[in-house]
Amino acid sequence: MTIRELKEIIHADILCCEDKLDAEVHTACGSDMMSDVLAFVKNQSVLLTGLCNNQVVRTAEMMDMVCIVFVRGKTPDESTVELAREKGIPLLITPHRMFNACGLLYSNGLHGGDSV
């Protein structure tokens, strides 16, 4: 699916990099522990997280992730948005909690990729 489709499915708002809305998302990863995210490389992946700091953007950057979704309506501060803008990583905010946001995406065909 595209980021645009993903955004609709989880009723998200976009905070930056609107020009990337048509980029493809192929897999997803949901975690608040960044090292768990860093353990599994997937291509064209979206990161869903309840964590809201610069290191989320750094993690996505190192992993070449396509976008970040903050769950439960959490809003990152301006420095985090600025960093994401600089790195060209779209930030989205969904009102859904982690489990529901992941469930919505999963049931619409977005899967986690290999876990081993």
Binding site: M33, D36, L38, N53, N54, Q55, R58, M62
Partner: protein
């Protein structure tokens, strides 16, 4: 690219929000040098975990990177407390990080295992009360 390119980074041990700047800068430089994306990602992830460790466990330090046509070598040196039991520290899930670090998304005890996983060679030299030097090499396929 026949020469060896050498870079050095200072890692500020007091500012968690800035941790990762060195890895980010290196990633950008490797991209410009047309290093294969797979190798760049391995280097970036391994160095990022190492950089985070320097900040959360060792009050910062210095990173030197050597880029040759066959491989990228990263040397992360700190004057932190050292690691008492390296074998234990290498185990997935082992962490001495305080709870406030966990609320920031790190301290799951996966850093060193991840660094090992993404590099072709990794060596830890450490001495209690003196510091730790982690050397990692990623081959360019």
């Amino acid at each position: 690219m026949t020469d060896v390119i050498k870079l050095t980074y200072k890692v500020d041990g007091e500012d968690f929000t800035r941790a990762g700047e060195a890895s980010s800068d290196l990633k950008g430089k490797l991209k410009k040098m047309n290093v294969p994306p797979d190798a760049i990602r391995k280097v970036a992830i391994a160095m990022y975990e190492g950089e985070i460790n320097m900040v959360i466990h060792a009050h910062g330090g210095e990173i030197t990177v050597e880029i040759s046509k066959d491989c990228i070598t990263m040397v992360l040196a700190d004057r932190g407390p050292g690691i008492k039991n390296v074998e234990l520290a290498m185990q997935a899930g082992y962490s001495t990080a305080p709870d406030n670090i966990r609320t920031l998304g790190f301290g799951a005890g996966m850093g060193l295992p991840n660094m090992k996983k993404y590099t072709d060679e990794m060596k830890i030299d450490t001495e209690l009360g003196v510091g730790t030097t982690v050397t990692m090499r990623v081959n360019i396929a």
